[in-house]
């Protein structure tokens, strides 16, 4: 009998991963890897030139995305992915700069940087994995943790009011704001594609399970149970006022695209103002290159 040969095609996502760094550190049931899968499909479908794609992450579980993706990738300090990305983008505008990080990183220690980058409308694509907790450090309360859940630092229940991320980011000036969950892999990939087409500060919140530290501690089951919860509790409301999309422990999860608007980005504002003020004395640069 002739030997059967089976051709296993390469997973199309692999080309974007540092396979020599796999296996990754993410727990079974975590949604970060799922979001990276959607991201990879968005790159394929939107035909993104990955040579000019740079990923910037902060610190935390989601901050490890930069370490697994095979692009020019920068794993920065806690909370500072956005100002690093701002310098990278302004010095080298040819780069397509994506910030991929977590809720604690972007909204607690990095919250000030995030609102100012949104205000300036720096051309950054920000993907925020929101697992409602500080996961890397063991499940402490984050600015996104809903009320009345248990965390390692609120063992008797949380009482800090939490941020509604889309509302905050819209108010700060983002031109694109959407929320999906790790269950909505297709919608998420499409939102990422849309984000790549935008110029300016764009933001996608990706609600993700943390079975190890959030769901387990709150007796909410495992990763699969959380997927079922996302499926059952999510309601697509494109264009919903962001003031109405706050998350609670077990209530409705409003998902969809909330904001899609045009506003001159920082590079255009800078260029137009300087060109107008300086006339012939203005020296336009495509990049601040030191070669």
């Amino acid at each position: 009998m002739a030997e059967a040969s089976v051709v296993v095609p390469q997973n199309p996502v692999e080309q974007f991963l540092r396979m020599d760094r796999i296996p990754h550190i993410w727990c079974p049931g975590c949604g970060i890897g799922t979001s990276v899968n959607s991201f990879a499909h968005a790159l394929i479908d939107a035909k993104i030139d990955t040579k000019h794609l740079a990923i910037v992450s902060g610190i935390g579980c989601s901050g490890r995305v930069a370490g697994y993706t095979k692009f020019d990738s920068f794993h920065t300090t806690h909370g500072r992915a956005i100002p690093f990305a701002t310098g990278l983008k302004l010095a080298n505008p040819k780069l397509n700069v994506v910030v991929y990080s977590g809720d604690g990183d972007l909204f607690a220690i990095g919250g000030n940087h995030l609102i100012h980058a949104a205000r300036r409308n720096v051309d950054l694509k920000v993907i925020c994995i929101n697992n409602l907790i500080y996961a890397m450090t063991g499940g402490q309360t984050a600015p996104t943790t809903p009320g009345l859940v248990t965390t390692s630092t609120n063992p008797y229940g949380t009482y800090d009011p939490s941020f509604n991320l889309p509302y905050l980011v819209e108010a700060a000036g983002a031109v694109y704001v959407a929320r999906w969950t790790a269950f909505h892999v297709k919608q998420l990939a499409r939102a990422m594609q849309e984000m790549f087409a935008k110029k300016g500060f764009s933001f996608i919140e990706v609600l993700s399970p943390c079975p190890t530290l959030y769901q387990r501690r709150n007796k909410m089951g495992d990763g699969l149970d959380t997927m079922k919860f996302y499926k059952q509790a999510s309601k697509v409301r494109n264009g919903a006022p962001t003031s109405e999309v706050a998350l609670t422990k077990s209530g409705e999860i409003v998902v969809g695209k909330f904001v899609d608007r045009e506003r001159s980005d920082y590079g255009v504002l800078m260029h137009d103002t300087l060109a107008d003020a300086l006339g012939e004395d203005y020296v336009e640069t495509e990049a601040c290159s030191c070669q």
Binding site: V56, D72, H75, G87, M270, T285, C288, S289, Q291
Partner: protein, 386 residues
């Protein structure tokens, strides 16, 4: 290579130290600065904001010093020569990213126009009290280069040197002004661009498949990749191997962190700059730096008028510290006098290098003004009398 003429304001100027520092940065090729206002350093970036759009580059005012000190590193990896400027309180906030620059070997320049501290301290008055912070302020083991100009001319010259050393050794380099040097106005001569040497970035010539971003050259410094060219470089503040990948093994930590120190320490003879005068045959040598060296010069002149054999040793490089030179002086003199605008910082390094072979006399000053020359003179006379 020579400086890009676009950034060089060739001629004879009447400039303060802050403005001269800005011109030095432009001459060195800096085309990006991220700043946050703080007295007495703000004039550096105010001038940069005015000048850089006519040269081709970016100034961005960030939301705080944390952001300023990391935005510039993004710009460096994007291909720019970049710097930021601050004073004590802002310098404290920047410590996080000084460590990041050291760990990721990001060539960049920080200018610290020192004022009195601790905390908000003396916003408009001088001190030299960040001299240990600049060496040790961020956590972990690393090495830096710190330069101490004592005039607006040196603010120009040494800012260029700082950028060149940053590129050569891929570490954060510091230009340690003080409020007086920053705000004093003197003649500054800016030479033609073809007389200014500028260190190019050490970009790798290897193709992406053959390149390991943290594989050092013979001088212990690795070459850099260009982003956007398919190198898929990974940069992390985590302990990393030669590929740039996180690796938590003690052997990897040992190899990496030792190299971060060795690349400065083993190249110290090429890095260290100092000025000396009549050290040979002296009974006493005054060791000083920055504005204090100019007050010390007055005290030295007064002592020489009294017939005292007094030499001068001026630290231009505070870090790495010229310990061999100080140790050699200690063999031949009765003592060393160390005036500084703090209550005893660099004097500790002097004591360490002298190792008990001569008297070391600190002339402390908590800041807010410069020393009285008489105080330094009295110390010289006391050490001479033994």
């Amino acid at each position: 290579m020579h400086a890009d003429p676009a950034g060089v304001l060739t001629g004879s100027h009447f400039l303060d130290g802050d403005h001269a520092c800005c011109e030095g940065a432009l001459a060195a090729g800096a085309r990006f600065s991220s700043g946050y206002p703080i007295t007495p350093s703000t004039e550096v970036v105010e001038r940069f904001a005015q000048r850089v759009p006519t040269v081709g580059g970016v100034f961005i005012q960030m939301e705080d010093e944390l952001a300023a000190s990391i935005a510039l590193q993004g710009a460096v990896w994007g291909g720019a020569k970049a710097f930021t400027v601050t004073s004590g309180p802002g310098f404290s906030l920047m410590m996080e990213h000084i460590g990041y620059a050291a760990m990721t070997e990001t060539p960049c320049v920080f200018v610290d126009v020192q004022r009195g501290g601790p905390s908000t301290g003396l916003p408009t008055l001088p001190a030299q009290a960040d001299m240990m912070q600049v060496r040790w302020g961020s956590h972990g083991d690393y090495a830096v280069i710190a330069l101490c100009p004592n005039s607006p001319q040196e603010c120009f010259d040494l800012t260029i040197t700082a950028f060149n050393m940053a590129e050569k050794y891929r570490c954060p380099v510091f230009v340690m002004l003080d409020e007086v040097v920053g705000h004093m106005t003197e003649k500054v001569v800016i030479p033609p661009a073809d007389q200014i040497e500028v260190e190019p970035r050490r970009y790798t010539k290897l193709p992406p498949e053959a390149f390991a971003p943290y594989e050092p050259d013979e001088d212990l410094v690795p070459d850099m990749p260009r982003v956007g060219e398919g190198y898929n470089v990974h940069v992390t503040g985590l302990t990393h191997d030669e590929r740039g990948y996180p690796d938590m093994r003690p052997a990897v930590q040992d190899r990496l962190v030792k190299r971060l120190l060795d690349k400065i320490n083993k190249n110290a003879d090429k890095i260290i700059l100092y000025e000396e005068d009549q050290v040979e045959g002296a009974d006493v040598v005054v060791v000083s730096y920055g504005i204090t060296s100019r007050v010390a010069q007055r005290a030295i002149d007064m002592a020489r008028d009294k017939g005292v054999k007094v030499g001068k040793f001026r630290l231009i490089t505070a870090w790495p510290f010229p310990e061999k030179q100080i140790a050699a002086i200690a063999e031949k003199v009765k003592g060393l006098v160390v005036p500084e605008l703090n209550l005893g910082q660099m004097v500790r390094e002097v004591e360490r290098a002298v190792a008990g072979k001569a008297v070391v006399r600190l002339v402390p000053h908590a800041g807010g003004s410069v020393h009285k020359p008489e105080d330094i003179l009295n110390a010289i006379l006391e050490v001479t009398r033994g």
